[in-house]
C-alpha cells in the first residue's frame, strides 16, 4: 500500500537535518518562483483553480502523512478543516485579526482539537478508527446549525479578505488568493518533508509496520499516534482556513462528508504517504470536476444526472486505482520510471562507468531491495489500520 518515501533505514540520526532542510527549502523556492510566474500569466479563473488545488494539497498532505506514515486512517479530516475554517471566520469577524495571525491561530486551534481526538484515536484500530472519524465528519458541521446565533446556521459566516493595499490595484483578488494558498502549500510541504525524514518520521513508519516491535524498541506508540493526528489536524485546520478564504465564506455545506471523502480519494489516488502523491491527487480531484460536469451536460444529460457524473467517475477511478495500482499515481509513475526502457537504456549506457567506479550491483537496487524486474508496485507489506 503506502510506499514509504524512505525505504532504507537511515543510518545517521544527526548531521543530516541541515542539508535536508536546505535542499527542501531550495526546491520550495524554485517551485515558488515557477508558481509566482505562472500565477501572473494564467488569468483569474486559472488562478482561482490553482488556489483550489493548493488548498487541497495542504489538507491532503496532512492526511496522507497520517494514513501512509503513522498507519491511522481518518475519514473525518473535513471536520478538522471545519474547525479551522470556523475559527478563522470568527477571528476575522469579531477580532479583525490580520491574515497571517488568523492562519496560525486556526492551524493551532485545529491541532488542539486533533490532539483531543487523537487521544481517543490512539486507542482505536482499523474500521473502529474509521468509524469514529466518520462520525466526527458527519456530526461536527451540524454544530453550526445548533449554535446558529454564533456560527450562522446553514447560511454560515462570511470570510472576505481583500487584496492588501500595498500590492496596489494591479493584483487581482484571485492572483492574491493563489499566492496565499500556494505559499501556504509550499510551507506545509517543506515542513512535512522534513518531518517525514526526521526521527519522528522514521518512528511513525516503525509504528505503522509493527506496533509491538516499535514498542519493544522503546518507542511510545500512543504518543506517536497522537502526534500524527495533531500534525494531520493542523494541516486540515490550515487547509480549512484557506478553503474559507477561497470560498469567501464558511458554512456546513462547505465541510460536508463529501469533502472528507474527496480528501481521502486524493490521498489514495496520489499514493498514500507520498507528498508528491498529495499534489497529484489534489489536482486530479479538483481540476476535472467542472469539466466533467459541463461535458456530461453538453452531451445531452439533464443537469440532475450530469451533476453526479464527476462523483461516478471518481468512484470508478478510485476502484480501478485500488485494484491495479495500490500505491496510487505516484507509485505508478515511480514504477513506470523503474520499468521503462529509458531507464534500462540509461543503465546500459552508464553501467560500464558505474561498474568501473564501483564493482558489483548498483547501490540503489541492493539497498532498496526493489529489483527492477518487479512486475507491479503491488507487493507492499500489508498495513494495519488501512483496511
Amino acid at each position: 500500500m503506502a510506499r514509504s518515501p524512505d525505504p532504507r533505514p537511515a543510518g545517521r540520526l544527526g548531521g543530516l537535518a541541515a542539508p535536508t532542510l536546505v535542499r527542501h527549502l531550495g526546491a520550495a523556492v524554485l517551485a515558488g518562483v515557477v508558481l509566482l510566474i505562472g500565477s501572473n500569466t494564467i488569468g483569474d479563473y486559472r488562478d482561482y483553480q490553482l488556489a483550489n488545488v493548493a488548498v487541497y494539497v495542504v489538507a491532503v498532505a496532512g492526511l496522507t502523512l497520517l494514513i501512509g506514515l503513522s498507519g491511522q486512517i481518518s475519514i473525518g479530516n473535513g471536520a478538522f478543516m471545519a474547525v479551522g475554517g470556523y475559527l478563522a471566520a470568527l477571528l476575522l469577524a469579531d477580532l479583525k485579526w490580520p491574515l497571517i495571525a488568523i492562519l496560525l491561530a486556526a492551524t493551532a486551534g485545529a491541532a488542539v482539537v486533533g490532539a483531543i481526538f487523537g487521544v481517543a484515536a490512539a486507542r482505536l484500530r482499523g474500521p473502529y478508527l474509521a468509524g469514529a472519524t466518520l462520525m466526527l465528519a458527519v456530526a461536527l458541521p451540524s454544530v453550526a446549525t445548533r449554535f446558529q446565533s454564533v456560527l450562522g446556521g446553514d447560511q454560515g459566516l462570511g470570510f472576505f479578505i481583500g487584496v492588501p493595499g500595498f500590492l496596489g490595484p494591479n493584483v487581482s483578488p484571485y492572483r492574491w488568493l493563489a499566492w496565499v494558498t500556494c505559499g501556504a502549500a509550499l510551507v506545509t510541504m517543506v515542513l512535512l518533508a522534513n518531518l517525514i525524514r526526521s526521527r519522528t518520521g522514521r518512528s511513525w513508519r516503525a509504528v505503522r509496520d509493527d506496533e509491538i516491535a516499535a514498542a519493544l524498541a522503546g518507542l511510545n506508540v500512543a504518543r506517536l499516534q497522537i502526534l500524527a493526528f495533531v500534525v494531520s489536524a493542523a494541516c486540515a485546520g490550515l487547509g480549512g482556513t484557506l478553503l474559507a478564504m477561497w470560498n469567501q465564506s464558511v458554512s456546513p455545506g462547505l465541510f460536508s462528508l463529501t469533502l472528507s471523502i474527496q480528501l481521502l480519494t486524493a490521498a489514495v489516488l496520489g499514493g498514500l504517504g507520498s507528498l508528491t502523491g498529495a499534489v497529484l491527487g489534489s489536482a486530479i480531484v479538483v481540476l476535472p470536476y467542472t469539466y466533467l460536469q459541463n461535458q456530461a451536460i453538453s452531451l445531452g444529460m439533464t443537469t440532475a444526472t450530469g451533476s453526479n457524473v464527476p462523483i461516478l467517475a471518481y468512484g470508478a477511478v478510485l476502484i480501478v486505482v485500488m485494484l491495479a495500482f495500490p500505491a496510487g499515481i505516484q507509485g505508478l509513475l515511480a514504477w513506470m520510471v523503474r520499468a521503462s526502457r529509458v531507464r534500462q537504456a540509461v543503465r546500459w549506457l552508464t553501467g560500464p562507468l558505474a561498474r568501473r567506479a564501483s564493482p558489483g550491483p548498483s547501490v540503489h537496487s541492493a539497498a532498496s531491495g526493489h529489483p527492477d524486474q518487479r512486475s507491479a508496485p503491488a507487493a507492499e507489506p500489508q498495513e494495519k489500520g488501512t483496511t
Binding site: A27, A31, T41, Y48, M189, V190, A283
Partner: protein, 440 residues
C-alpha cells in the same frame, strides 16, 4: 538513488506538476473573453451573456428547477423576435444544489470563466448571500435575485444588487393583516426557515398580528428534514392557524407531518412555498401515494398570496402570452407558478436591458433600474429607485382550490417599515404587449 535525493525529487516534481497543470490549462481559457469591439464583459455585437445559480438538484429543486428553463424559454422567444437591439441573450445557469458553498464556486466560474455581463435571478436567500458581496465588490450587476429577502435592499453596501419578487417583509405584513382581520382571537403559530428568508417573513407578520395571539414560533433548517418536533410543538401550544415561510418541499413535509400527528390547523403559506402544482407533486411523492387527486386534496384550503396574475385566469393577456411561449419552448414542463415566475422575471430583465440602451454597459443597466421600471407582469408596481432596491410592492390574497390558486380579494400594497399601512391598490394592470416583448 539516495533517500534524500528521492525526497527532494518528490517535492520538486510535485510542485512542478502543479504549476504545469495550471499553465497547460491556461492555454484553453484565452478564447473566453468578451470578443467584439465593445469592452463590456459578456456583451458582443450579437450577444448578451448572463449567468445564474439555481438549485437543479437537492432539497430546493422540486419546482424551483423549472424557473431557469422557463426564463430561458422567454429569452429564446425574444431572441427569435429580434433580440435586444439585435443582440441575443445567452443564459447560462449552473446548479448550486441550494448549498451556499457551491454557489460561491459556480458564480465565480460564471464571472471568471464565462465572463458574464450580469448575474440574473440567482436563486435562494442563504445561497445568494454567499456571493452578493463579491459581485458588488467587482461591480457586476446582480439583478432580480430570486428571493424576497430584505437584504437585497441595501443600496450602500450592495449598490449593484436588486430584488424583484415581493419582499418577505411586505409579504409577511400582507399575510399578517389578513390573519389579523380574519382570525381574530385565534392562536397563531409560525413555521419558518431559519435564515433571513424566514426571519424577514416573521418580522412582517409580527408587525401586523397582535403579540397576544402568537403562541409559537418554530423554525427548520433546510438540511434537516426531520421536522416532527417542531410540528408537535405547534400542536402542543394549540396553534389554530399556522403561517409557514418555507420552500415547497418543507411546506409538503409540514402538511404530511401535521397529517401524521392528526393536527389540522388552518395553513397560511407564503407565495414561494405554495405553488399548488409543485406541492401536489411533492405530497404525492413524499407520501408514496399515486392516487389521482391525493396531492390536490391535501392542498385544498391553504391560504396564500400572489403577486403575479393567477394561472387560472385564462383570459388574462399575460397568462395567454406565457402559455403560448411555454407550449412552444418548454412544453414538457408543467405550466405552473414556477414557470410563470421564470418568464415574468425574464420579461423584467428584457425591460431593463432595453432601458439600458443600444450599447449597454454594467453601469447603464444599474442606472436604468435605479431610474425605475414600468409595471409589467406583476399585479402591483415596482418600487425601484436609487435608494430602494426592493421590487414588487404588493399582492392579492387567495386560497388553493382544486389545485389552483383562486384570488379572494383585490391587490394590497404596503412598504417595508413596521408602521406603514397595508392599503388597497386599485389601478388596473396593463395588458401584455401584443408582440410579447416590452417596447424599448
Amino acid at each position: 538513488m539516495s533517500s534524500s535525493h528521492r525526497a527532494r525529487l518528490a517535492a520538486v516534481a510535485g510542485l512542478a506538476v502543479m504549476s504545469m497543470v495550471a499553465a497547460a490549462c491556461s492555454s484553453s481559457s484565452s478564447g473566453g473573453g468578451g470578443g467584439g469591439t465593445v469592452s463590456t464583459p459578456g456583451i458582443t455585437k450579437t450577444t448578451i451573456t448572463i449567468g445564474s445559480h439555481q438549485p437543479l438538484t437537492g432539497i430546493a429543486a422540486p419546482g424551483y428547477d423549472e424557473i431557469a428553463p422557463a426564463s430561458n424559454a422567454y429569452f429564446q422567444y425574444v431572441n427569435a423576435h429580434g433580440g435586444i437591439f439585435g443582440r441575443k441573450i445567452i443564459y447560462k445557469y449552473l446548479n448550486d444544489q441550494y448549498n451556499p458553498s457551491i454557489t460561491s464556486t459556480v458564480v465565480t466560474q460564471l464571472v471568471l470563466k464565462d465572463k458574464v455581463f450580469a448575474i440574473f435571478n440567482g436563486l435562494g436567500t442563504p445561497t445568494h448571500l454567499a456571493v452578493a458581496p463579491m459581485l458588488n465588490s467587482e461591480h457586476i450587476p446582480d439583478v432580480f435575485v430570486a428571493s424576497g429577502c430584505e437584504c437585497w435592499n441595501a443600496t450602500s453596501a450592495l449598490p449593484d444588487t436588486f430584488g424583484w419578487q415581493l419582499d418577505y417583509v411586505r409579504e409577511g405584513k400582507i399575510l399578517g393583516s389578513y390573519i389579523e382581520q380574519h382570525f381574530k382571537g385565534k392562536k397563531i403559530g409560525f413555521f419558518y426557515q431559519n435564515d433571513e428568508f424566514g426571519q424577514d417573513g416573521v418580522k412582517g407578520l409580527s408587525d401586523e398580528i397582535p403579540k397576544s395571539q402568537i403562541v409559537a414560533e418554530e423554525s427548520y433548517v433546510p438540511t434537516n428534514i426531520k421536522i416532527a418536533p417542531q410540528v408537535a410543538a405547534l400542536k402542543a401550544k394549540g396553534a389554530q392557524v399556522v403561517v409557514s415561510f418555507s420552500v415547497p418541499a418543507f411546506t409538503a413535509l409540514l402538511k404530511l407531518t401535521m397529517l401524521g400527528l392528526k393536527y389540522t390547523p388552518q395553513l397560511v403559506v407564503s407565495d414561494v412555498g405554495s405553488d399548488p402544482i409543485t406541492l401536489a407533486g411533492l405530497l404525492a411523492s413524499f407520501a408514496k401515494n399515486k392516487t389521482a387527486g391525493f396531492g390536490n386534496a391535501l392542498t385544498q384550503g391553504i391560504i396564500t398570496d400572489g403577486y403575479l396574475p393567477s394561472l387560472g385566469s385564462t383570459s388574462n393577456s399575460w397568462i395567454t402570452l406565457f402559455k403560448k411561449i411555454h407550449d412552444t419552448y418548454v412544453p414538457k414542463l408543467p405550466f405552473d407558478g414556477n414557470v410563470l415566475y421564470g418568464m415574468s422575471v425574464a420579461y423584467t430583465f428584457v425591460q431593463a436591458m432595453f432601458k439600458a440602451g443600444k450599447n449597454p454597459t454594467r453601469e447603464s443597466l444599474i442606472s436604468a433600474i435605479n431610474g425605475g421600471l414600468p409595471q409589467g407582469v406583476s399585479v402591483a408596481p415596482y418600487v425601484y429607485s436609487a435608494t430602494d432596491h426592493n421590487g414588487i410592492s404588493g399582492a392579492y390574497m387567495g386560497v388553493i382550490k382544486n389545485g389552483a390558486l383562486v384570488p379572494t380579494g383585490g391587490v394590497l400594497v404596503t412598504d417595508d417599515t413596521a408602521t406603514g399601512a397595508v392599503t388597497a391598490y386599485t389601478t388596473p394592470q396593463l395588458a401584455a404587449p401584443a408582440s410579447g416583448i416590452p417596447s424599448p
